[in-house]
């Protein structure tokens, strides 16, 4: 790593919330309670697709202890209007139906009513007394089935957007998109090798360990307080106000500590229900999802079907690409098919590209963002075919990628041209890594894959408040999901020139700081970091003005260095430096409190690229894959807190390993989820894994004062194809469908064995 350029940035300090989090003191959403609170519970549809003819709540309402019941009728109709939800867009008309079904239940687990009662037992009994008259409809789960002409239609109003002429019949295809660069057909005509394959992925859940939970307290005067676990409490406020017809100033949302989100906590589920129930009951209402509810009713990411065709010359130059991506959106339109199409080929500088995407609804829970939404699905397919090209052409898979790598100035198929990016540096670092230089052990095989994510900027606000003793409180509004308090404090300490431990960062509620977009898109250290830097600089300029006032010189004559105001030169005069503590102590005599503020819309988020290397072995009889060694290499811009950057790479890689090898939603014939728990929805555990080595490549982002690039999303993109490629090299079988679980892999090996024997 580069020589140390900074005093604090790039060092591994203890996180400010560390002690609270290792002692159980940190409060997550289910840890909040209020006097007099009621327990809220949700009645969910047992059917994958059904008309709701009527809901009879009379018997439930008569049960002693039941204080309020709500159904779809308690939430006003919403306009057909898109709002941003994390990195995705959602339609308000759909959001209100997703939190509580109106005319139809569209997936098993869809909320149809909610109850607030004095105890959990009473609430549960009340749910059993609610009579819902369902008319069961034919359902569709699979994305390719849902696209067929004769498939059961979920939404009578849905016409496929983006096709001409505009269709006059309803369809489950919400949208078709197309991106093109050059001339794909002409490109394939020049190709000497063409490989085409079709791949699938299953939906996978974000798998945060903390289930959704919310506590709402509505007052008789219309004011409401809400405590919830979310990646964006300002978004929660926005959604709840729209869905419940509240003014934003009436609703104060306080984020709890958040027990994982990965994109899945950028939307609302329980929050509007808890508020409505509290308004009806006149008492606080707490709602907590069970793990089963999380699995049945909160958003996984899409499953997909991806067709990839790549054409190359014998020297390895890729001359044409044709990709088609169809993603499940779940019950309502809005899969991450856009980013999936855009990211699919972004690692490569290819002249002729066509990418087509379809957004498809089916009778599954509405998808939510999951780490680099959409990108892993298309990358699984594209990177697998790139590896097949490398095999076919006899070229090292990293060399093949180096030959075709996107660079500064490369124009992507979605229109943007790259600025300063570090893909080549990342590929080279992968090639030179101890892992790649080590020989592959006998009986093992190695796979490599790359990944790309845009990273996000957007709106952030921050404040830097100077205390009377010269310590500084940094206030921002992004829930700290993985150490962001530490990285924000490091940048503030660097700017101020004071000790890291004299800076305390807090995550403020919606009434205590200006708007902040969600913790997501790998934006917090970049965008909120920029707001913190600017707020700190604002405080510093006030501090310099105070020093100038004390010294009776022009403010231009004062500089800020190492935590103190100094005269800029001897011409200004001979003055003893004034420390932050001294200036703070005299603040009321020099003009009052010193508080810096900043708010901005951050532009120029630096794109991120990663390359993963995996060594594994396959048990040919059982199909069990054992990962022996794993390395994640990534351009991280500048690692503000290297340990938490490494942690992002390691955590993302392991989520990708789970996606590759085990995780999937299993449905029965009635469209009911068969594995709504951690026993059967198997996420990686410690004994499944080796250490995850990391190589941090630092190609600073020129648009950020410290060169920050988002780091959180990229590491989930390469694992599936890296593992698939290693399996292909180990077994001779190229897997096309995820997950590559033992039963599927052993079946594929068995199916290929007679063919291989015959060759």
């Amino acid at each position: 790593m580069s020589a140390q350029r900074y005093k604090w940035v790039g060092t591994r300090q203890n996180r400010p919330d560390g002690a609270d989090k290792v002692t159980g003191r940190a409060r997550f959403a289910a840890d909040f309670n209020l006097p007099g609170e009621l327990v809220g519970k949700v009645l969910r549809s047992p059917h994958a697709h059904a008309n709701i003819r009527s809901i009879d709540t009379t018997a439930a309402a008569r049960l002693p202890g039941v204080k309020a019941i709500v159904t779809g009728a308690d939430f006003p109709e919403q306009p057909d209007q898109l709002l941003p939800a994390g990195e995705m867009q959602v339609n308000l008309r759909d959001v209100t139906r997703n939190i509580m079904a109106k005319e139809k239940a569209l997936y098993e687990g869809h909320a149809v009513a909610a109850v607030a009662a004095t105890t959990a037992a009473v609430a549960a009994e009340a749910l059993s007394l609610i009579k819902v008259d369902y008319e069961i409809l034919p359902h569709v789960i699979d994305v390719r089935e849902a696209m067929k002409d004769n498939a059961p239609v979920l939404h009578a109003h849905m016409r496929t957007e983006g096709v001409k002429p505009a269709p006059d019949k309803p369809s489950n295809i919400a949208k078709r998109l197309e991106f093109a660069k050059g001339d794909a057909d002409a490109g394939f005509a020049q190709a000497e090798v063409v490989i085409e394959r079709e791949f699938t992925t299953e939906p996978v859940h974000q798998g945060y360990i903390e289930p959704h939970a919310a506590l709402a307290s509505a007052s008789e005067d219309g004011q409401v307080q809400l405590w919830t676990t979310t990646q964006g409490h300002f978004q929660v406020r926005g959604f709840c106000c729209r869905l419940l017809d509240l003014e934003t100033a009436q609703l104060r949302v306080t984020p709890s500590e958040i027990g994982g989100g990965f994109g899945g906590k950028t939307v609302v589920y329980l929050e509007p229900l808890a508020i409505r129930l509290s308004q009806r009951a006149g008492r606080p209402v707490k709602m907590v999802m069970s793990r089963e509810e999380v699995m049945r009713a909160s958003g996984p990411t899409s499953g997909g079907h991806v067709k990839v065709k790549l054409g190359a010359r014998k020297d390895g130059s890729i001359v044409a690409a044709d990709v088609t991506v169809a993603l499940q959106a779940g019950a309502f339109a809005g899969s991450p098919v856009g980013p999936s199409c855009m990211c699919s080929l972004a690692c490569y500088d290819i002249d002729n590209i066509r990418v087509v995407g379809f957004d498809v609804v089916s009778n599954r829970p509405k998808v939510a963002a999951y780490r680099a939404p959409g990108a892993p699905i298309s990358a699984w397919a594209v990177e697998s075919v790139v590896d097949m090209l490398a095999q076919e052409l006899g070229i090292d898979p990293i060399d093949l990628r180096l030959k075709n790598a996107a660079k500064q100035g490369t124009k992507t198929h979605y229109g943007a041209s790259f600025g300063v990016i570090g893909l080549v540096e990342t590929l080279e670092a992968a090639k030179n890594s101890p892992h790649y230089r080590a020989p592959v052990k006998p009986g093992h095989a190695r796979g490599v894959a790359a990944g790309f994510w845009f990273n996000v900027g957007a709106d952030s606000s921050a404040a830097a408040q100077v205390g009377e003793d010269g310590t500084v409180t940094i206030i921002s509004g992004n829930p700290d999901i993985g150490g962001s308090r530490a990285s924000l404090a490091l940048m503030a300490a660097e700017e101020l020139g004071i000790d890291y431990n004299k800076v305390r960062p807090i995550v403020a509620d919606t009434a205590s700081i200006g708007f902040n977009f969600v913790t997501g898109g790998s934006r917090v250290t970049f965008a909120t970091g920029l707001a913190v830097i600017n707020a700190t600089r604002d405080a510093i300029s006030q501090l310099k003005a105070r020093a100038a006032k004390i010294w009776e010189v022009d403010v231009e004559g004062v500089v800020w260095e190492e935590g103190e105001a100094r005269p800029s030169s001897t011409n200004v005069g001979k003055f003893e430096p004034l420390s932050l503590a001294k200036l703070a102590a005299s603040a009321s005599r020099t003009g009052g409190p010193i508080n810096g503020h900043a708010q901005l819309n951050a532009q120029g988020a630096g794109p991120g690229f990663g390359v993963h290397i995996v060594d594994l072995k396959v048990d040919m009889d059982t199909g069990i894959v054992t990962i022996d060694r794993y390395t994640a290499v990534q351009d991280v811009g500048t690692a503000i807190h290297p340990s938490y950057v490494e942690g992002q790479l390691q955590g993302g890689a392991v989520q990708g390993i789970g996606w590759a090898l085990n995780e999937e939603y299993i449905y029965d014939k009635q469209g009911r989820l068969q594995n709504p728990g951690f026993l059967d929805y198997r996420m990686p555990v410690a004994s499944d894994l080796p250490m995850i080595e990391t190589v941090l490549v630092e190609v600073p982002n020129p648009t950020h004062p410290y060169g920050v690039r988002g780091v959180g999303e990229v590491p989930i993109i390469p694992p599936m194809a890296a593992i698939g490629s290693a399996i292909a090299r180990a077994t001779g079988v190229r897997m096309l469908d995820l997950p590559m679980s033992p039963p599927r892999l052993s079946a594929a090996i068995d199916a290929a064995t007679p063919a291989m024997a015959a060759e």
């Binding site: 945060y208 994982g260 390691q650």
Partner: protein, 160 residues
């Protein structure tokens, strides 16, 4: 339904509580005793977020009834530090960034303590299997495993 009276020891303190026959130990800890450090990640014994130590045995508090705590000694994350001194595992987890969101951390720390109490000299594989009942979705386990091995090494060093 009348409540059950239970006399037990929690984090070294003699403790009494009333619970329903169906309440889990986790319900009692969180809702009655207001010890919310143990988390409910699944309620089915699959995530380890609710880990506590009952009479020296690592236990999922979601799988044990509150009434079964009668006469036992229960240790929760709230009892892991000594006064104002963090347990070495707690310190090391902070220093080595062995947590991201931190929701799994109380359970992981309790499981790690149970492991080191039993086996002060574990191999990496033993640590991985010792913590295999604790799901962490954030970290990929790497820094957790390293932190536990580091504490074990430190403790062996001091013991010498």
């Amino acid at each position: 339904m009348s409540k059950i009276h239970v006399t037990t020891t929690v984090n070294g303190e003699p403790t009494e509580f009333l619970c329903n026959a169906t309440d889990t130990l986790l319900d009692v800890l969180r809702d009655e005793l207001r010890l919310t450090g143990a988390k409910e990640g699944c309620g089915s014994g699959d995530c380890g977020a609710c880990s506590v130590i009952v009479d020296d045995r690592l236990t999922c508090a979601c799988l044990m009834l509150g009434a079964e705590a009668e006469g036992r000694r229960v240790l929760t994350i709230e009892g892991m530090a000594h006064g104002d001194q963090l347990h070495p595992l707690q310190k090391k987890f902070i220093e080595m960034a062995a947590l991201q969101c931190g929701v799994c951390t109380p359970g992981v720390l309790i499981a790690a303590k149970a492991l080191l109490d039993r086996n002060p000299n574990p191999t990496e594989t033993e640590v991985r299997f010792g913590l295999a009942g604790n799901l962490c979705r954030c970290t990929g386990y790497d820094k957790i495993i390293r932190a536990v091995m580091d504490v074990a090494a430190d403790q062996r060093e001091t013991a010498r």
